[in-house]
């Protein structure tokens, strides 16, 4: 048999040589809503922006360090109000025009144009006043903001530089060549892409990227198994395990993702709940006791089939810099939980826990309906809490009414939701931690902090935002994480792993926790046979 196969192999090698670079294929959930990199607000548009946009600096998804791209170097000055970029020279746009400081200034001005309402621009808005972008020469540009922005330089990871002269020209590795709404998107390699590999060859290795619009995840999996597509982002643990059993080489567990599952109690003062329940929810001992009744290992083992780990705080260990390595998840300790509750005046009456006034301890947990993972977590919580005498009622709600309850009417007792972290920097979570913030979920929009510990969190969050010194910022945010661990306004449950399917035919893939997890280094991804053919 091997003998007859030989000519075939030779033929395929020949074809591989002929197919210069090859085509990477994967699926988008929906059509991109925009091709304007400054207007991006949805995942699909973000993917297109990542594949086509050139940026001044890039956060390396693996090391989470900031690396130079179109800017050779940069300098933050004036206490974080000003940044000066020195740009790479001899870079051409996809259609041949040269890249210069003028283009950067143009991009920044357009991004900050209030009329455009750019979501990207929003993260740069620090205070009232104008943003001034000035060229200091053909390859130097300075940007001045009205007030300091912590972590300013990292924000430029999201800013794809436009061309001041040609609206369609891009600086990224690929160019949109074809878009058939509802069907697919074809990106071709940018022939003028500036990056080169170690041997001096111009990147990207791939000829094209084809993005198929495919909402149905089952079909996506079938197509992957057939080899029609090469990547699937974020598989659920069940699918991952069945894929791992069939094709171990293509099932990739990239370790903890940045996402966190958590629950919290409603501590809003005027929430339409009985006073005695509000008193439980405001009691630190009660919150800690509930937290310690939860078997987080079981959640990771049963719900995520081992592809997760107990969560400790707002950041997962995959956030290398900001994760507080000194903290451990609240331990599973029903006996300790019972002791804590007894000290607080709760007592066990048969199988029912009662508070000081004799009310049976029972509360509801709202979560979004149709999410299998959360339903299972809720089931485990229900059983765990039953063991300390607490009755948990699970209330799955459709998303809009859930949001209505947790953000407007506050007619809920406890909530189970996930936190999807896109940004590594705690500055992105100012609106969660400040007691006056709208997303301070357990008790939002407080005129003044309701508790001393919330006041302290406020102080530390402001402190970390007001300095540029990473060490000081880290120390401040570590304090925040410690207070949150101690007071347990959020009960962090699990950090799921990032599970992906990656075709073994691909080379140089390096899945990471940060988005876009599987193709962040797309310009270096290639097909195994093609690389060997080129050598």
């Amino acid at each position: 048999m091997p003998v007859t196969r030989l000519p075939l192999l030779a033929l395929s090698a020949y074809l591989a040589w002929g197919q210069w670079g090859g085509e990477l294929r994967f699926c988008l959930r929906s059509d991109p809503k925009t091709f304007d990199p400054l207007a991006v607000a949805d995942d699909s548009s973000e993917t297109v922006r990542y594949l086509t946009g050139g940026v001044l600096v890039r956060v390396n998804r693996k090391t989470q360090q900031l690396e130079p791209e179109l800017a050779e170097s940069w300098k933050v000055a004036e206490g974080g109000r000003k940044i000066v970029f020195k740009l790479r020279e001899r870079v051409l746009y996809s259609e041949g025009t040269p890249f210069s400081a003028e283009d950067v200034a143009f991009t920044v001005r357009r991004m900050m144009d209030p009329a455009l309402h750019s979501p990207t621009g929003d993260s740069f808005r620090s205070g009232s006043g104008e943003v001034r972008a000035e060229t200091l020469g053909p390859h130097r540009v300075s940007i001045l903001f009205p007030s300091p922005i912590a972590g300013l330089e990292r924000l430029f990871d999201q800013v794809a530089i436009l061309s001041a002269v040609s609206p369609k020209a891009v600086l990224g590795p690929f160019v949109v060549a074809e878009h058939k709404a509802g069907s697919h998107l074809l990106l071709r390699r940018n022939p003028n892409y500036w990056k080169k590999d170690a041997s001096g060859r111009r990147l990207p290795y791939l000829d094209s990227v084809r993005l198929d619009i495919q909402q149905n995840r089952d079909l996506e999996q079938i197509r992957f198994r057939r080899g029609e597509i090469h990547l699937i982002d974020s598989l659920d643990p069940e699918t991952f395990d069945s894929l791992a059993a069939e094709a171990p080489a293509s099932a990739i567990d990239a370790g903890p993702s940045l996402d966190t599952e958590m629950m919290w109690f409603n501590q809003v003062r005027n929430a339409p709940l009985p006073e005695y329940k509000k008193a439980w929810f405001r009691s630190k001992a009660f919150r800690r006791a509930v937290s310690e009744s939860i078997n987080r290992d079981d959640i990771a083992r049963l719900v995520y089939r081992g592809h997760a780990r107990p969560a400790v705080g707002p950041f997962s260990p995959s956030n290398r810099f900001w994760f507080h390595a000194g903290l451990r998840p609240h331990g599973f300790d029903p006996a300790g939980a019972r002791r804590k509750l007894e000290q607080e005046g709760f007592r066990l009456d048969g199988a029912v826990l009662r508070d000081r006034e004799g009310h049976p301890v029972e509360f509801s947990l709202v979560t979004n309906s149709g999410n299998k993972t959360r339903a299972r977590i809720a089931s485990l919580l229900q059983q765990d809490l039953a063991k300390v005498g607490i009755r948990l009622n699970i209330v799955p709600l459709d998303f809009p009414s859930l949001i209505e309850r947790i953000n407007r009417t506050f007619h809920y007792e406890a909530c189970l939701l996930g936190l999807v972290n896109v940004d590594l920097d705690p500055n992105a979570q100012m609106n969660v931690w400040l007691s006056s913030a709208a997303n301070h979920q357990w008790n939002p929009n407080q005129p003044s902090p309701a508790t001393p510990w919330e006041a302290e969190i406020d102080r530390w969050m402001r402190a970390q935002a007001s300095t540029l010194d990473p060490k000081k910022r880290k120390a401040a945010f570590d304090r925040v994480q410690e207070i949150v661990w101690e007071e347990a306004p959020f009960l962090y449950l699990a950090n799921r792993n990032f599970l992906a399917a990656i075709s073994p035919a691909l080379r140089n893939t390096a899945p990471a926790a940060m988005r876009p997890q599987t193709f962040w280094n797309v310009e270096r991804i290639s097909f195994a046979n093609q690389i060997s053919g080129r050598r």
């Binding site: 089952d218 069940e238 699918t239 069945s242 078997n295 079981d298 083992r301 049963l302 719900v303 089939r305 029972e362 509360f363 509801s364 709202v366 979004n368 309906s369 149709g370 999410n371 299998k372 339903a375 299972r376 809720a378 089931s379 485990l380 229900q382 059983q383 009622n393 699970i394 209330v395 799955p396 709600l397 459709d398 009414s401 209505e404 309850r405 007619h411 809920y412 007792e413």
Partner: protein, 268 residues
């Protein structure tokens, strides 16, 4: 054919008894999580294996049957009662009343009930016991599921209205109400019975579909709906065919109802 009907009836009776006696027949409490035995294949201890949280599947199937088989007929009864009320009066009284009732029925069929169900679910108090919640769900299904049956019954009633015997009865001085009760109802009984039997599997399926949306039965109570949910992962089913047990049971019960329905003598 007759034997088949008896078999179907016997089977349904058996399933019914098994679901009523679920507490005694179940090897384990349906909500008990044997966390050290998740996703187990069938064994002597777990005849249908365990689910991902280590709960005994047979026990869950039995209790799920109880929920679905007790509440679906109840909902069907309610729906058919409403359908008969609307269909009979519309078809028999005719005129503007019929037009109004049928417009109402059409509206009912075309309204986005899913959103209404979502809203109602959202309006319920937070701390609702699972049994209450599932009963309310079926109550809603019953309250909302009458429209298509009402159309069928109305057609039958309209036919009776135009019939000679209805005319004859009127000519004999029969009162309208009496006419409907005595003359109309017996004639439509087969149609109404058919609607009832047909509604039961429809409601079982509806609850199953609501279950897929996270509505309907809440944890930890099982129903055929949330048991069927696990079949969504079709690959898992190939590897573990015993997961199909609830689906098989649902299909068997549905066809059982159909067999029994076809037993109805259209003359009575």
């Amino acid at each position: 054919m007759q034997t088949l009907r008896y078999l179907a009836a016997a089977f349904l009776l058996m399933v019914f008894l098994a679901s009523v006696g679920a507490d005694f027949l179940s090897p384990a409490p349906y909500e008990r999580q044997f966390r050290d035995h998740p996703n187990e294949p069938p064994s002597r201890r777990f005849p249908l294996g365990t689910d991902e949280l280590g709960r005994d599947r047979l026990s869950r199937l039995l209790h799920g049957s109880r929920v679905s088989l007790l509440l679906a007929p109840a909902a069907a009864l309610l729906a058919v009662f409403l359908a008969a009320l609307v269909g009979l009066s519309a078809g028999f009284l005719g005129g503007w009343f019929e037009r109004a009732a049928m417009a109402c029925t059409d509206l009912f069929v075309s309204l986005p009930w899913l959103f209404l169900l979502l809203t109602v679910r959202a309006l319920l108090p937070l701390n609702v016991a699972p049994w209450t919640s599932v009963s309310i769900t079926f109550l809603l299904l019953g309250l909302l599921g009458w429209a298509s049956s009402a159309r069928v019954i109305r057609a039958g009633a309209a036919a009776v209205r135009g019939s000679d015997f209805a005319l004859q009865a009127r000519a004999a001085g029969c009162r309208t109400a009496r006419l409907m009760m005595v003359h109309l109802l017996p004639n439509l009984r087969p149609a109404i019975a058919a609607q009832f039997w047909i509604s039961i599997p429809v409601f079982i399926w509806s609850e199953a579909n609501l279950g897929m949306l996270g509505l309907g039965v809440t944890e930890p109570l099982p129903s055929w709906g949330n048991l069927l949910l696990e079949l969504a992962n079709y690959r898992a089913v190939f590897a573990a065919p015993w997961l199909l047990a609830p689906a098989v049971l649902l299909v068997l019960v549905s066809s059982g109802f159909h067999f029994i329905f076809s037993k109805e003598d259209p003359c009575r």
